[in-house]
Subunit: 222 residues, 2 copies
Amino acid sequence: VNSVNPMRQRAQPRAGRPTSGVLDRDAIARTALAIVDDRGYQSLTMAAVASTLGVAPSALYNHVTSKQDLLHLVQELVMDGVDHSLFDSHPLDQALRRWATSYRDVFAEHIPLIPVIAVLPVASSPRLLAMYESVAAGFARVGWEPERIVPAIVAIESFIFGSALDASAPDDIFEPGSEAERVPNFKAAIDAQRSTGRRSADAAFDAGLEALVAGLLAERTR
Amino acid sequence: VNSVNPMRQRAQPRAGRPTSGVLDRDAIARTALAIVDDRGYQSLTMAAVASTLGVAPSALYNHVTSKQDLLHLVQELVMDGVDHSLFDSHPLDQALRRWATSYRDVFAEHIPLIPVIAVLPVASSPRLLAMYESVAAGFARVGWEPERIVPAIVAIESFIFGSALDASAPDDIFEPGSEAERVPNFKAAIDAQRSTGRRSADAAFDAGLEALVAGLLAERTR
DNA sequence: ACCTGAACACCGTTCAAGT
DNA sequence: ACCTGAACACCGTTCAAGT
């Protein structure tokens, strides 16, 4: 309005290319992860990421193509917590257990990434690809038939994703309530499990992982 | 505007209580399911349900408390496709296979319901409760220790949900692309699996289900 | 009791204008 | 090349007004 207005000198950035690059994909990804870690996925909006970085939401689109793309970046960071280091130094069953447990624990904290990773082409995720190579090598080393390796990996991964989902649910969802006397077998099973003092999600993960690993590694004669 | 305007006589409903009850929870649920079945979950909006029923979106809130509540109703309809009828007439392993397969097939078509059902209190879903009773009775009948039944059910269910997610993914996501020579074991496993001609999701479900059922039903001596 | 219509508080995303 | 700011096309949900 006033061309000599001293307010023209401002701390706030104006439109136009900034002198220093304020944004890049890595900074955006880390900011997104920080938001998720302390406020959860429902708080992860493009506006929240932008405001944390001190830019307008539209500025993000110079670096990421979409929110889906942003979630891919977060997934890549989060995959760091999955431990597939044991496959070249330990027995297969031990390496599988360690891998599966760390994988479940990571994704139990990142449920909304599960649908993202499930449809993500592995070629676009270096860490996912490195993980699959480690696990595949672990199976190959003990002489598995090549065509059975991918199904085994996918089966364990499916169990992991389902278990992560389950681990994030409240503890009391199995309470049959007023219908208890109409489902006596289920009610008895619930009460018996609860009396062990363990979370049913944890007991289920342990029992399922043992069964799956034992079942897969057992010699088959069909 | 004009008090003698003949347009006051209209086909469109006005505000106020209609002479016949046009809406109820069941009609809303069936309309929602119909939209999902032929246009998918991304088309399931409160506005779409309302417009199909010929009402304003806000009218739905006289019958459902939220979209989450609407999804519960859809889940209840969809659970009808899960077959838990074999547990009182067939061997446990056969009943488990039939149950798991139908359960996976249903939820592969209803992926967005998986997070809904994972946190849904069973007391609020009669069909979910009936299903758990059947499965629990199946385990009890063959003499399982009561405290092991719920973990076994939850483990299989976790595998089912993960497998449903996996079944909905595109077929070519495992293609390592330009990174192929850096992941030789994984590449070889992918090629070997593909040469079998089966979808890896289906091979994984079969292998995993066999391993899980065999592993769970095997006598344990720890 | 149960509808309409207007409004609210968000979303992700696009794009012209600026430097 | 990379930012701002305005705008768009949605969402789910609330609520006063009406019958």
